[in-house]
């Protein structure tokens, strides 16, 4: 009955008025940025990260988590209504959701997405609660070789999920790792790669890097060709799905939940992969595959459940191992470190209220989303009509305030401008920023565990292969790499990502 006690503790923490307020702020903010194209969850969380320093650790993490899954909800709203996925994980929803909207069934599509997401969110919250403790127990026995191999899996997976060239994505990982090493060597205290700049001796600022490559670069890309967004939205009526809809959506929601939960746990997995996988499965096993692309209920219900489940279970590696599965999780780890919490298996035992509070807050947040968003759809639609040029000055201002407030260091603001330029340049060269950020976070950890493992094994690199868990993880990484490099799968992968 440990699970029950833990969940009670979690809900007691998450349901305190203070935490409920921040959960609410998080999901509202998340929905807002999910609806608004041109600013994503990663940039928003990076921007708000410094401000969370003022909050309690639990409240800040609850709010940041709320932004993450709130953005998934918001992203699917715009995907359905105007065929413009606010977040990349809703790209699949746009295919059939928008067709439903064109047939005058926008309300039903939105409800199906919301119901699917809520169901998946509930199940995956339970899954996180059930699987986190045993995984934590396993993780406590992890030595340096296992950690090293696990991080390799995470980095390789981020390459597999990047759009475009695999080689460029690998380059981004390596570049990120190198940038993560700038500063001072932890073992010897030797300064390295700091170009003689005093401010760099503690390393590059993570927030400045994230805000630059995700926030500023994104704004520059949106300013390339400004065109008015013609938002033509029919009035949304008839929110309640018909009896036929219920019949058609039940099985896809169940399957989507299972697929999403499984893929979310994998390092580097998460919401995007989950929604694509679910769509493919639904289309393949459907009796009427011809309906897909023309407004199939299953094409909305499956992927929407899958992406929410995946978003939720991607917290498992972050909470139990301290290993981020995607850039958002990397930022959550950054938030923990700012708060003085060392991410890893010890969080569950040393900070049970924090650990279970976050898990419980996910369910509460999902409930808030379904209660708030369906009635508020009119408001979100109105927001879509705000022209972009009214938005980005505010984004720049908040980025500047956010970064400066980390440690009142003016140098960090120059770093934002620098990384904004770099990020925009890399985007023009078709290099994805996500693997870079993941590499940056893992760089110092990877080096530390590599060096420690080598010392422990007296310089024998076979230590990574002699230990079964480490070997298994490395084989997994190798398999992922081989798979993405295979020509036939590469072609398919290009097709899958072509939506963006």
């Amino acid at each position: 009955m440990d699970l029950l006690n833990n969940l009670v503790l979690g809900f007691a923490t998450a349901a305190s008025p203070y935490n409920l307020l921040f959960c609410f702020i998080g999901v509202i903010l998340g929905t807002l940025i999910g609806v608004l194209p041109g600013i994503g969850a990663t940039a928003t969380i990076a921007m708000l990260l410094p401000i969370t320093f003022q909050l309690e650790p639990v409240s800040s993490l609850i709010m940041l988590a709320g932004i993450y899954y709130g953005a998934q909800y918001g992203g699917s709203t715009t995907a359905i209504l105007i065929n413009m996925p606010g977040e990349s994980s809703s790209a699949v929803t746009a295919i059939d959701g928008y067709q439903m909207a064109r047939k005058g069934r926008a309300g039903a599509a939105l409800s199906i997405a919301a119901i699917g997401s809520f169901f998946a969110g509930t199940v995956s919250t339970i899954l996180v609660a059930v699987f986190a403790p045993p995984l934590t127990a396993v993780a406590l026995r992890f030595g340096s070789p296992e950690y090293f191999s696990l991080m390799i899996v995470g980095l390789v997976s981020s390459v597999a999920l990047a759009h475009g060239s695999v080689v460029k994505a690998l380059g981004m990982v390596v570049l990120g790792l190198l940038l993560g090493l700038v500063g001072t060597d932890i073992y010897t205290g030797t300064p390295r790669f700091n170009l003689g700049i005093l401010e760099l001796s503690d390393g590059l600022n993570f927030v400045a890097l994230a805000v630059g490559v995700f926030g500023i670069a994104e704004i520059l890309r949106n300013l390339e060709n400004e065109h008015d967004r013609d938002v033509m939205i029919k009035k949304v009526t008839n929110l309640w799905p018909t009896r036929q809809d219920w019949k058609e959506m039940t099985a896809p929601i169940l399957r989507g939940t299972v697929i999403g939960s499984a893929l979310g746990i994998l390092p580097g997995g998460g919401a995007i992969l989950a929604s694509f996988a679910s769509y493919t499965v639904e289309k393949r096993i459907s009796n009427t595959p011809g309906e897909f692309g023309k407004g199939a209920v299953a094409g909305v219900a499956g992927p929407e459940s899958a992406n929410n489940a995946g978003a939720q279970t991607s917290f498992i590696p972050m909470l139990t191992l301290g290993i981020p599965a995607n850039p958002v999780m990397a930022l959550m780890i950054g938030a923990m470190i700012i708060q003085g919490i060392v991410p890893g298996p010890n969080v569950a035992t040393e900070q049970p209220a924090l650990f279970w509070g976050i898990i419980a807050s996910m369910w509460i947040g999902n409930l808030m989303l379904i209660l708030l968003n369906l009635p508020l759809i009119g408001l979100w639609v109105k927001l879509l009509t705000i022209p972009y040029y009214m938005l980005f000055p505010a984004i720049i201002a908040f980025c500047s305030i956010g970064v400066y407030s980390v440690n009142s260091n003016v140098f960090d603001l120059y770093a934002v401008a620098f990384f904004g330029l770099i990020g925009y340049g890399l985007a023009k060269l078709r290099c994805e920023p996500a693997p870079l950020l993941l590499g940056f976070v893992l760089g110092p950890l990877l080096e530390e565990h590599l060096r420690r493992a080598m010392i422990m094994s007296r310089g024998d690199p076979m230590t990574f292969l002699n230990r079964p868990i480490s070997l298994g993880l490395l084989l997994l990484a190798a398999a992922v790499l081989v798979v993405v490099l295979l020509p036939s799968i590469r072609k398919k992968r290009d097709e899958v990502f072509v939506e963006d």
Partner: protein, 171 residues
């Protein structure tokens, strides 16, 4: 640093199979050259540090290996660029860069001297003109509202320790 690898690059094409379209993607060429340049930078810097042995790795060991991998990847990117179809680079947001990138720098230069309120107003104003659609009147109104909002939220509600008006204004 790109020139150094040019002979190699041409040699790889000289084998015959790509003779018909010897053109290369400028995007991939720049990308590959960038990887190689950054890799060389880190490699040279790391070599100047103590490399150590595989048993006791010095501060330069791991970065040196990574830099080597990055250089290798850069070479592969350039070679691949000769084989794939090329797409145009697309427009470049010159105006955006001109106004957006200096905005955080301006904030950094003035936030201590002028104080939070005027500094943020200037930053927002500069950023606003990155869009061709922005009109001066709209910008003043928008940025004024933005500044007011930020002061209320960040300075009063969240209590961030910024001076609202700084010493340059005689405060």
């Amino acid at each position: 640093m790109g020139e150094r690898f040019r002979p190699f690059f041409i040699a790889s094409n000289g084998r015959g199979e790509h003779m018909r379209n010897l053109s290369f993607s400028s995007r991939d060429l720049i990308c590959g050259a960038l990887f190689i340049f950054i890799g060389l930078f880190f490699a040279i810097q790391a070599y100047g540090l103590e490399l150590g042995t595989a048993l006791r790795m010095g501060p330069g060991y791991f970065p040196f290996v990574l830099a080597g991998i990055l250089i290798l990847l850069g070479i592969i990117v350039i070679i691949q660029g000769t084989q794939l179809q090329h797409e145009p680079m697309g427009p470049i947001a010159w105006r955006g860069m001109l106004f957006i990138l200096p905005a955080p720098i301006l904030f950094g230069l003035t936030v201590r001297g002028l104080g939070f309120v005027p500094s943020l107003f200037l930053t927002g104003l500069v950023a606003a003109f990155a869009s061709t659609k922005m009109r001066p009147g709209t910008a003043l109104l928008l940025v004024g509202g933005l500044t007011l909002f930020s002061v209320i939220v960040f300075s009063y509600a969240l209590g961030l320790p910024f001076r609202r008006f700084g010493p340059w204004l005689g405060q």
